[in-house]
Symmetry: C2
Subunit: 328 residues, 2 copies
Amino acid sequence: MPTILDVAKKAGVSRSTVSRVLTNSNRVDPETKQKVLAAMKELNYQPSQVARNLRKQETNLIAVLIPCISNPFFGSLVRGLEEVAVNKGYNIILCSTGEDPIRQIEYLRMLERKQVDGVILTALRNPLEEVKAFLQHGPIVLASEYAEDDSLPAVVIDNIRAAEHVTEHLILKGHKRIGFINGPEHIILCRDRQRGYVQTLEKYGIPVSHDSILCGDFTMEGGFGCAKQLLQLEEKPSAIFAANDEMAVGVIQAVQEQGLRVPQDVAVVGFDNVQISRVVQPNLTTIDQPIFQIGVQAMELLMSCLEGIVLKDKRIVLETNLCIREST
Amino acid sequence: MPTILDVAKKAGVSRSTVSRVLTNSNRVDPETKQKVLAAMKELNYQPSQVARNLRKQETNLIAVLIPCISNPFFGSLVRGLEEVAVNKGYNIILCSTGEDPIRQIEYLRMLERKQVDGVILTALRNPLEEVKAFLQHGPIVLASEYAEDDSLPAVVIDNIRAAEHVTEHLILKGHKRIGFINGPEHIILCRDRQRGYVQTLEKYGIPVSHDSILCGDFTMEGGFGCAKQLLQLEEKPSAIFAANDEMAVGVIQAVQEQGLRVPQDVAVVGFDNVQISRVVQPNLTTIDQPIFQIGVQAMELLMSCLEGIVLKDKRIVLETNLCIREST
DNA sequence: CTGAAAGCGCTTACAG
DNA sequence: CTGAAAGCGCTTACAG
């Protein structure tokens, strides 16, 4: 591989000059520049990114930590993240954590080792203090989750309000017994969604039954299992709200397996508005989250941090929308 | 940030020695080693990956080029690729090309610039010769597609045989008019699938009607549109084979919209066995592809190349399986 | 077992 | 406008 020195020799100039045409910095005599350009072309020269990185003390790489890329939610999120990054001249390192806190920390270490310039976190699975310790090595931005003390910039939706919308929609449809299948309760988003659900029941004077609140795992199978449990209750719910679309699909399957109809016997609502919500029969009523946009704005936030801009509003809240379809 | 020199000073040794304990190379006096380790801990030292990379002339980074990460097919593929890479100490740079040949070439340039050690290509969207030119800078392995002349290592399935299976299955079910909705015909996999379809019709003495072969775009909407076209044919098909599951879902929707039933009036088959094939009603008969495994083996192939192993069998063919469900 | 020195391939003040 | 020199933070023969 030719180096900058080879180009310099061929063009009859110094490395400095070649570097200057490479970086478009300072003024370079047009004629000299042409000679250098010609030499580069002839040698098929490409500057070494690694050398450049070492010198400039940056990598133009962003670590994106996600639980699992085959989950369509994270697929869309990553698309948004990547689009912005690439436009700004950065590339993305995909870091699948599988929800494992240890792997999450290992990936955060890439910041210490200067392997990446910044980190996007889509799931906070470690004590906040442990994560914050890495901030001395570079910026960290949250996408879709947030830190309770807002110590990290974050782009989110208002999960409380979204869950209120859903619950209210069901109540206004006449439902009084509404089951809730949440995601893992250590996730802040899930606590928020549950809070929205509970608050709305209380607002309408509907007693909150703790038998009607279950913790799922965000999978179809999990939703299926929880739904079966709810349907065996003495006070069977007439509506079930699942904290994501996959679980809601599992709920529909469980309801139908019992010979019941959706929505006539049991209404079902999901959350996220991913593709399957429009494939399942009946089509799912769900909360439309601007997933791609969350990714876009989170990466924009991170880019601002890298440019040294100090952020004022650390939490950006995007709008959601209740999509009413056939399942309610 | 502390550098290796800071550690050396604190431990009262030379940089060389610190480096040796860092790389576990040669013998280092156990006592010296302890001193160095202590100094590293005290300074919270992490070696700079960039410096190491420049020195060792490697990056431990692999570029993974995919059309679109929010497509679940590529989600699974990437999971397989990543798992192996991480186990071998590599990280993955996600490079979404959106099927754009120009972006594909731009990402291949990362190989020239020494930004990555190798490349995984999941879609060949440029003249093969143009891609092969990059081989001088590092290995390139194909996952799920292949090069006609086998000049690049590849992990694939036998698309011809899989399509034969599907077509034969439909014929044995009594279908004589079988529509085929293919993906874009410049894709080699699509040409193979079509060949399997055509060959099987011919084998059973069924005339091949070119009105019954349409080119879709691998989306639900595309499948929907093509299906409508097929259903308006004079000789309406009694079965439709779509080259992926998304399009097959679109087909089911189109059939049902016409007031027809699947499979009684029109049987439908997909390809890939992604999640929606088990969500759509009726559940989709489809070809199960070992997507994750394709990723695993492709990355293993690339790792072999990086270790300097010369590959003999350049094309690895994995088994598929016809999943017969409710739609046929 | 350990250190001094060279070098990976760039960029950037500093002179001129 | 251009060049010589230093330096980014490591690793690795080469001596000893």
